[in-house]
Point group: D2
């Protein structure tokens, strides 16, 4: 495998492949910043590094590529991989527009390469267990999907500058929208979004927002409500709840450790402060699963269509917020495998 883009997230994927997934072999990394590529290659004790995806995929010994570049380069990198017949794992969001998502789906299908978007929450052990409980009927029919995602602090301004304008829904909300589709086993039919710049004024410079609430209506009638927030100073906070006709499942990992410290200044517990801590297991499991899928010549559990649908929901949320009205989604049928 090769990894393209070795910033914080890409480096984690590279480390997981190198150290913790023995079935995979990490051959090379690439990064637009060649010094960073060299540094990561050295740390991971691998030989090859490049500064373009094209250079990396020229290698015959690379069968699959993990794309972890800024989102605006996902499309280009996926196209290059498809052309070179490499299977692709691509971090979320799959692309920044629905049109580009449709294009890469079509391209990879024609090239016969696999495409898995990095929807890590589908691999988080607690979400996996919740999904199983729902399928086992523990809460009856799911009727209401609630989810919130709060970052401890905004991304660096350089990160915001690296995207397109107004990508908060694509960057953050995309997790919640995918989770909703998966947990409810349904498509989002319509949504309504409010957004605002309330705590991070710099967001406005990038035509972006830092706070959003989105109401969802699913195709079979269930409802949903999603929140995204950019600057929860107290920690990285992810909570999901699926309400069913016979009960509810709440997920929350606020507390990082089983320690409770009580002093005269109060009772204090730790909270998780970063998604790489919260979803450490998820990131490892998703890459393991991708590797096994490749080795067994199977189909990804989360595929390009899932990536496309999450992008479409985020785009609809963006439009709803901009236009001040509910937006219905066009939900194409899932493409049939040839």
């Amino acid at each position: 495998m090769g990894v393209v883009g070795v910033g914080t997230m890409g480096k984690r994927h590279a480390e997981n492949i190198r150290h913790l997934i023995p079935e995979a072999q990490l051959i090379a990394v690439a990064d637009a910043d060649l010094a960073r590529a060299r540094q990561v290659a050295a740390e991971l004790e691998i030989e090859h590094y490049y500064n373009t995806v094209e250079a990396l995929i020229e290698r015959k010994d690379i069968q699959a590529v993990a794309i972890v570049t800024p989102a605006k380069f996902h499309g280009v990198a996926i196209r290059a991989c498809a052309h070179a017949r490499k299977d692709v794992f691509c971090e979320k969001p799959l692309t920044l527009t629905v049109e580009e998502a449709d294009e890469v789906l079509s391209l990879t299908a024609k090239a016969g390469v696999r495409l898995q978007p990095g929807h890590v929450r589908r691999y988080d052990p607690s979400h996996v267990r919740a999904k199983k409980r729902i399928e086992a009927g523990e809460i009856g029919d799911p009727v209401l999907f609630k989810s919130l995602g709060r970052d401890q602090s905004p991304p660096p301004v350089s990160y915001m500058a690296s995207g397109v304008n107004g990508m908060f829904f694509q960057d953050s909300g995309v997790h919640e929208f995918d989770l909703g589709r998966w947990m409810m086993n349904d498509e989002i039919a319509e949504l309504h979004a409010y957004g605002a710049v309330l705590v991070f004024p710099e967001a406005a410079q990038f035509n972006d927002i830092d706070t959003a609430v989105v109401n969802l209506k699913f195709s079979r009638g269930a409802l949903g409500a999603v929140e995204n927030y950019m600057q929860a100073v107290y920690g990285y906070d992810i909570r999901t709840e699926i309400v069913g006709s016979k009960g509810t499942i709440m997920l929350g990992y606020l507390q990082q450790t089983p320690e409770l410290v009580l002093t005269a200044s109060g009772a204090r517990t730790d909270v998780v402060d970063h998604f790489l801590i919260r979803f450490a297991d998820g990131y490892l499991d998703e890459m393991r699963d991708f590797v096994r899928t490749m080795l067994t010549d199977g189909e990804p559990k989360v595929d390009g269509f899932d990536g496309r649908q999450a992008v479409a929901a985020a785009a609809a949320a963006e439009r709803s917020y901009r236009e001040g009205r509910p937006v219905a989604l066009q939900n194409p049928a899932r493409p049939v495998k040839a």
Copy 2:
């Protein structure tokens, strides 16, 4: 004092006045069902009972009346009290329409009688503490208001039949809307609601719904998201969160008792199953406060205008749900006391 309407809720108010608020004297109760009025009078060891509000307010020794009838009779009863110059405590919702709310506000103002709607959560100790924390700046500027209210089971069909069509937002959501106004110290400028009949098909008969999600936009720009649900089989579940620029406050009283029972079939905690348990202190404190306001000739902490605004928000939510579009609220200025 007199209490008009002594079903479950009215009886609780009567008991609180009779036994736990020594400054007040319970003189009489009234109920359309005279047998029930007689029974409650006997239990509370008071002498007088009637089957109409008019009969009750003829008594000279009654200075204030608590109205706890079905909501559709609130307006009539308030008018009668205003005419008889009795101060009024009225259970929520103040009225079923904004027009009627405006009318009773105007009437009571002219008559010089006080009017306090039963927005009990403003008296719940945990909400009171949270409000103080916000005012003390503990979480910086409040930017996001989240609230959910779930009943364990739908009201009896007779209760639904006693209201007007489609009163879920007025009956349940009115709590959340008032809480939002209070906690955020702001008016709701616009909202968007989805509603559905998902778990209690009988609701459709009454043109009502059992599930709702409502997004809020406050006048100064903050956002909000509210959920109401009619049939959370596991218990009565109320959760409120106010997110601020420097932190967040979460309120939830899911666990009724400090007991954790662990057996081979799992870990189990108790949950509250009824609002009269969850808000026992709140109901007592609000009536105590009303009594003291009367005795000290003061102005109610929660007044008719607050009741009117909550009714208006619920009506807007109903319209948004019916018409499938965001609805802006006309927010009149708070009337100045003469």
Copy 3:
């Protein structure tokens, strides 16, 4: 009723009788500090106050007395009440020695007056529910009793000076020992105690300790472990656990409120800081129960023998700590009512 001793605890009992237990009538209070007695009488709007128990019990209209003096005066006051044929509620510990406990048991029995010690935890709703769960077999046979009691701060030095030397086991441990007897439905057969002065050096002046761990062996073979601690700066902390052959029940009321405050400095919950807050319901319920027992001419649910046994366990713990060895308890049979 009359209340003798109206410091913090006695005043609470007097308030409960005066305001919240309509079946009882509070006639008079007494306190060695007459000014305090007068002040409390004024606050409670009752007419009569005295500076001795003797003066108070001369009143014919007083049928029962609550004794809430320093523990070393309990014996004298109980004797006076027995002589005057008044029923007695007496705060814990019943007496400071087993010998005196036996004497007052005998005296009150002969006089035909009732005697209920203030073992408040038997009336705490969560402990009551736990007891019922155990009796219902939810955790099988109880085999292990764990309990801890931690005060937020030591009592005032004046309070320590008002007792006899070394009364930590009698003042604090007595709650745990009684709870153990009640929850396990068994007598303590033997115990072993370690004690130390670790955080409040002033305790040594009074030949007292601030920290204790006590192991228990019950008559039918079950084990127990108790902890008492005088200065848990973070709050008033009471935890009880009963382990059975089929599960366990944990009780803890550490968190006073359902609020969770999350800021950049961490996650914070409130804790209870005083036993009058933690056991507010218990204190009210125990006095209500005492009043009803008197009015119905019944036998107290918690009686003098229970008080005696708790005093005996505390005395044994003291001896074990002093002598550095396990101490067996002589457990007399419960006296049969004539």
Copy 4:
């Protein structure tokens, strides 16, 4: 490295070395059951397996050995390793008697080989953090050590039969005693134990117990209380608390997952059911640390003397329980490295 004894625990150590600790190379495994050794070697894709420790340590390419046999064989295996100049990691308890512990300490010291006992809790992330908080002064001076260890179910009878009589304190309590020494940074000066057969009658056959409570007195005066219980049907339950003069730290990992499931039958959370789940990170971290210590020619963070002291405390607890009296510990000075 080689691993001797590849039952459940030994296999886990072997897996960690093979897959997750790249700096170490797993050369061979040994087990008295040769078929099991062969099976594990096959699963781990390594070439060599043996049925005796002697055969394994003949290999020149093995520098260090992890001993994970039944405890009664620890002494023999350590001796063999010392003779063959292999560094040793040995599962707890180091030995079954203090005498044998002293002997292996002396032998390994003379042979110049390192010896690390498997006190896994010293590597559990939450305990590590708690230790750091204590050292940072967050809770002032530690004055009270509380700890409990409960297994979900008794070990197989074959396991009990493989030990010596009455090894509950050595097998389970040894964890708590070591934790107490480490957290309090002090030696245990005296202890008192009660033990009983209350839930697992088979324990009596092996002269063993299933329930124990142990009071501790530390050298510098602090107190402690430990509980061990063999059959907590609801799960594997480990709780530790260190109370200091300025606060307390509670550790507990009862809840395995962040899921809360609420249905009509109540609120339910998951609990951990096995120590290999609860301490998965700890087992990996301790072996990583051992490997690094070997590679850097350092001294183990937890050494033979620590193992010896835990064994001595367990032996004293056993004696206290058998003889019904407190037992003082002889605490030799930590041997100075030559």
